[in-house]
């Protein structure tokens, strides 16, 4: 046994609540309040994972979010979550943890042999070696050997992650001494305040470092401050990581709950941000500095004080700075045999009790296989040790400051980058700002709170930490393998290789060696890597600079970002008011342009059902739910001038009670939408646009209204969702409606084709428009959406006498294609101009302004060889053409496209296939044959007029 749980102590654990969980199949015991890492240490588990590339055994390094080694996949009662940091994840009864990149387990990994070949696989080895014939041939097997945790492909959330929006005056990130003091001062100054901290309990360094505040214990200060904040109504969130600062001070928080609940995402919009994010301890460079049992000195102290875990019996504490003295003293007091190796010879603190101090020496190498067994100093002295606690100095946690575009300033005395020029709305306090003693920490906290100070600044009344440090960076040509980035297996030699191959820019260094690119984003390693690069290239550390800091600070589960926005909540469909009625008729629903609509009815075989619907619609009468059609009202004194400007066709000449078909163009002349315009009276129109274009047309109308006509002249109201539109179409449409009674004359003299009448049904006003998208006599009846059901039922009832058929959208598509009626975006593309569709009149004749006008007179618009809208006929007995197939032109040995098929169906009324297309010069080529190629097969079609059924239009009036 090396590490053990002490009989007493441990501020974080509750010994009355024991628990057990499994790690790599072994049972691990602990207490409530343990992290997975503290429980593993208490059970003397040294090897907790295998490294990314070389499968080196790795142990626990830290006690917080910076942990590079101790990643575990967590499962058990919940779906597996990969790459969880054992140092932040709460130990829970029944939890199942597995080490990452280890088969079958971290202790006995069958890929461990890779480490013996490590000298042959330096940085970029894989890319250089496996270039021929193709990296992708080798990639799957290499990826299987390298990597970290395993994604559970069957993962589904038990419940969606909650997402919370929050606003406050001051957000304080970090509940260490600086954050607690700042939050208390902000609260006392009257600011609404929020305090968040990524540890399970508040306190930060106060939870394990010495300190006395206002004459009382640090623990009392922590407890009272948190209680005061909560009492004043300020949220205090533990186990919550502020992972990013985004534009305009949006701060993202991810809150872990320590139980089965998914994490909660917070979007906080504070007026002011105080970053009291502390500092992260760095490793020391020596050969084999990655052996299990070698850990951060501060983490060793944290495990001792918080979890009553003594990490070893014979411990070497190695340091280049003052902060490790307190660690050595505490470990010795807890019963370990401690040797303190300080690389500095002078100006060092006095030796702590029971600690042997070796000064002016540093560790040259560590030895051991599955855990550290001892170290050799640079003078050859060998020390036995079952644990090595190292401190290479402190890196202020400036990630969030830099994400907010803060610039760093190198501080030689601290051997660290500190926040430079202040960023508006953000202040940095405590260790993150370079403060070391509690007095300094509180002074920076007082300055960090905006406005005049109102409360009482806490006072440090105990012993004070000192900041002495002499930098100890990795050096060139060191013997053995000195690890810099534990998580991505980057050594000092890899950095030297990068420099030799001229990847000397810090951004190139990162990408070439993968330094700092792992899930820990180099929190413990980046500075050592760039300091070594500075040394090799004869530059200073600030000359090398840092890479760009980007969110997230720690990995955030995608489920947090997703929240409830999955499936239909991510992309909601629009639904018909009569959806349930159609479902009662076995309507088969599909999404069309954002609307969920019946494709066909009856639940039979699709093709046969659709053909049957289309045929019967021509024979007697069809009922169709057209409620998705746009119904945008244009009202006001300038309404007529407005629709003239909006439409390609002149609309102001339309008489009240009449309808006209027209195009809307974009300013580049391209046909943007088509549809019917209804004039209700002098100053009131209804724009009936395509179902899927309602939002876009509405936005366009608003834009022109506000930009050109003014708010007082025109008013626009989108009534699409307010009204249902039920369509009755076919030779017997009028007869059917006459039996229903709509309170208006259906006589053709009173309601001719392209007229609109106002009626009443069951006390409810209805609009009856005689317009047709089928080519048959049709009536579109619009009624309040919530009153549509009785009318539909009445139409169904009346339809029985006429063998009326319900038709879905698929049959309607056949009916309109038989007539050569276009669907914008299907039969047209982003280059189709109105005259390409055979509508030349307005272009030739209109004298007043309209959207897209000038674009119809460009060189391009006037070309003679434009793609023009045509019908395409194939010989009887053949199958329909393939939609999207190209008409080809043989040009020597080359094939060139001369257009393509846009719509193609089997026409049950004609008993042959029909098709529509855009063909070069097509309008003048009716009767010509063209070759149509699809997937290598060539067929012949004859160019025809678009309208294949009833070209004279008699059926509209039949």
């Amino acid at each position: 046994m090396s590490a053990k749980r002490l009989q007493s102590g441990g501020s974080a654990i509750d010994r009355s609540r024991p628990l057990s969980f499994s790690f790599d199949g072994h049972t691990v015991t602990g207490f409530a309040g343990d992290t997975i890492a503290s429980a593993l240490l208490a059970n003397d588990v040294a090897v907790v994972g295998r490294s990314f590339k070389y499968h080196r055994p790795r142990g626990i390094w830290g006690a917080g979010v910076e942990e590079p080694n101790a990643l575990v996949d967590i499962g058990g009662a919940t779906p597996t979550t990969p790459n969880t940091r054992a140092t932040t994840e709460a130990a829970r009864e029944g939890l199942v943890a597995r080490s990452v990149n280890a088969t079958p387990s971290a202790a006995t990994d069958r890929n461990a042999f890779l480490d013996r070949f490590s000298r042959f696989i330096p940085a970029a080895f894989y890319y250089k070696t496996f270039m021929w014939p193709d990296w992708h041939m080798f990639e799957p097997r290499i990826r299987a050997m390298a990597g970290l945790g395993t994604v559970d492909a069957g993962w589904t959330p038990k419940q969606p992650s909650a997402q919370v929006n929050h606003h406050c005056d001051v957000l304080v990130v970090g509940a260490g001494p600086a954050g607690l003091a700042a939050a208390r001062l902000a609260s006392e100054a009257g600011f609404s305040t929020m305090l968040v901290d990524d540890q399970p309990r508040a306190g930060g360094s106060l939870a394990h470092r010495d300190g006395e505040i206002d004459g009382r214990s640090a623990a009392a200060f922590v407890e009272e401050t948190v209680a005061a904040l909560l009492a004043a109504g300020h949220p205090v969130l533990q186990s919550t990581t502020a992972f990013g600062i985004y534009d305009h001070h949006l701060v993202g928080l991810n809150q872990r709950h320590g139980d089965d609940r998914p994490d909660t995402l917070w979007r906080v919009r504070p007026r002011h941000i105080v970053l009291a994010t502390g500092a992260i301890e760095r490793p020391l460079p020596f050969a084999n500095n990655d052996l299990p049992g070698i850990m951060s000195a501060d983490a060793a102290l944290s495990y001792l004080r918080r979890h009553a875990v003594l990490v070893g019996r014979r411990i070497v504490v190695a340091t280049n700075n003052d902060s490790a003295y307190e660690v050595a003293s505490a470990l010795a007091a807890a019963g370990a045999e401690v040797t303190l190796v300080d690389s500095r010879a002078r100006e060092i603190p006095g030796a702590p009790a029971k600690v042997r101090v070796v000064s002016g020496r540093r560790i040259a190498s560590a030895r051991g296989t599955m855990r550290v067994e001892g170290v050799t100093l640079d003078d050859g002295t060998r020390l036995d040790a079952d644990s090595v606690a190292v401190s290479g100095g402190w890196t202020p946690t400036v990630h969030l400051f830099c994400q907010a575009r803060g610039k760093l300033a190198w501080n030689e005395a601290r051997a660290a980058f500190l926040p430079g020029d202040p960023v508006k709305g953000i202040s940095v306090a405590g260790a993150a700002a370079g403060a070391v003693s509690l007095s300094d920490v509180f002074a920076t906290a007082a300055k960090a709170v905006p406005g005049e100070p109102k409360g009482t600044v806490p006072r440090s009344t105990g012993s004070e930490a000192t900041a002495g440090i002499v930098a100890a960076w990795p050096s060139r040509g060191a013997h053995g393998r000195v690890w810099i980035d534990y998580q991505n297996d980057v050594t000092a030699k890899d950095v030297e290789l990068a420099a030799r191959e001229n990847f000397v820019s810090v951004e190139h260094l990162k990408r070439y060696t993968t330094l700092g690119m792992a899930t820990d984003q180099g929190k413990t390693s980046n500075l050592a890597g760039l300091a070594l690069m500075a040394d090799i290239t004869g530059r200073s550390v600030p000359e090398v600079g840092t890479t760009t800091y980007r969110p997230p600070f720690t990995p955030v589960p995608l489920a947090s970002f997703t929240g409830s926005r999955r499936g239909e909540l991510m992309a909601p469909v629009r639904r018909l008011p009569l959806e349930n009625v159609h479902r009662g008729d076995s309507g088969v629903f599909q999404e069309y342009g954002g609307w969920l609509r019946p494709a066909y009815y009856g639940g039979g075989e699709a093709d046969r059902s659709i053909q049957d619907e289309a045929l019967r619609a021509r024979q007697s009468v069809a009922l169709f739910d057209g409620s998705t059609l746009g119904k945008i009202e244009v009202i006001g004194p300038d309404a007529a001038a407005f629709v003239d400007f909006i439409y390609y066709n002149t609309m102001s000449t339309l008489k009240p009670g009449r309808c006209r078909y027209g195009f809307m163009l974009a300013e580049n002349g391209v046909v943007f939408d088509d549809g019917i315009l209804v004039r209700l009276d002098e100053h009131r129109f209804i724009v009936s646009c395509s179902s899927s274009h309602v939002a876009a047309v509405h936005a366009r109308l608003e834009e022109w209204r506000q930009d050109r006509f003014g708010r007082a002249a025109v008013y626009i109201h989108n009534a699409t969702a307010e009204m249902a539109t039920l369509t009755v179409s076919g030779p017997n449409a009028r007869k059917l409606l006459e039996t229903v009674g709509l309170g208006l004359s259906l006589d053709d003299a009173d309601l001719p084709h392209m007229a609109m009448g106002q009626g009443i049904h069951d006390g409810e006003p209805v609009r009856v428009a005689r317009v047709s998208f089928t080519g048959d006599r049709s009536y579109e009846i619009s009624i309040r959406a919530d009153r549509a059901e009785p009318l539909w039922a009445r139409l169904r009832e009346a339809g029985k006498a006429f063998d009326a058929v319900l038709i879905g959208l698929e049959a309607l598509m056949i009916l309109r294609a038989e007539k050569g009626y276009i669907v914008i975006g299907k039969d047209t593309d982003g280059t189709t101009l109105p005259h390409d569709l055979g509508v030349e009149g307005p272009r030739a004749k209109r004298q007043n302004e309209f959207v897209g006008r000038r674009s119809l007179f460009t060189e391009e618009a006037s070309r003679g060889d434009r793609l023009q809208f045509v019908g395409l006929a194939v010989p009887e007995g053949e199958a329909p053409l393939d939609t999207g197939a190209h008409a080809i032109l043989r040009d020597g040995g080359n094939l060139r496209s001369q257009g393509f098929v846009t719509s193609s169906y089997m026409s049950p009324a004609l008993g042959r296939p029909i098709a529509l297309g855009l063909i070069r010069r097509g309008a003048a080529r009716h009767g010509e044959s063209v070759e149509i190629q699809h997937l290598g097969k060539v067929r012949t079609a004859t160019i025809a007029a678009p309208c294949a059924l009833d070209p004279a239009g008699d059926r509209l009036h039949a």
């Binding site: 534009d247 949006l250 575009r405 300013e667 580049n668 608003e702 834009e703 506000q706 930009d707 000038r854």
Partner: protein, 88 residues
Amino acid sequence: MQLFPCPFCGPRDETEFHYGGDAGNARPDGADVPIERWANYLHMRGNPKGVAREVWVHMNCSEFFVMERDTVTHEVLSSTALDGGHAQ
């Protein structure tokens, strides 16, 4: 996530807004507008580095307005209702 001030609704998330083009890109009318002028109106954008005057629309209230903002720092400098708007 930026916050844009709608002159009518106040500060709202940027996802509620659509970009409407450069402010002051006046539409030339007529079938005989010189083609270069029309092409400028239709296609050419300032895309300035720094202060930009742009038209935006707040999708929730449908109102168009002019916003001045810095394309480098993302600082919003002003937002103004169009003529006839009823900003409060």
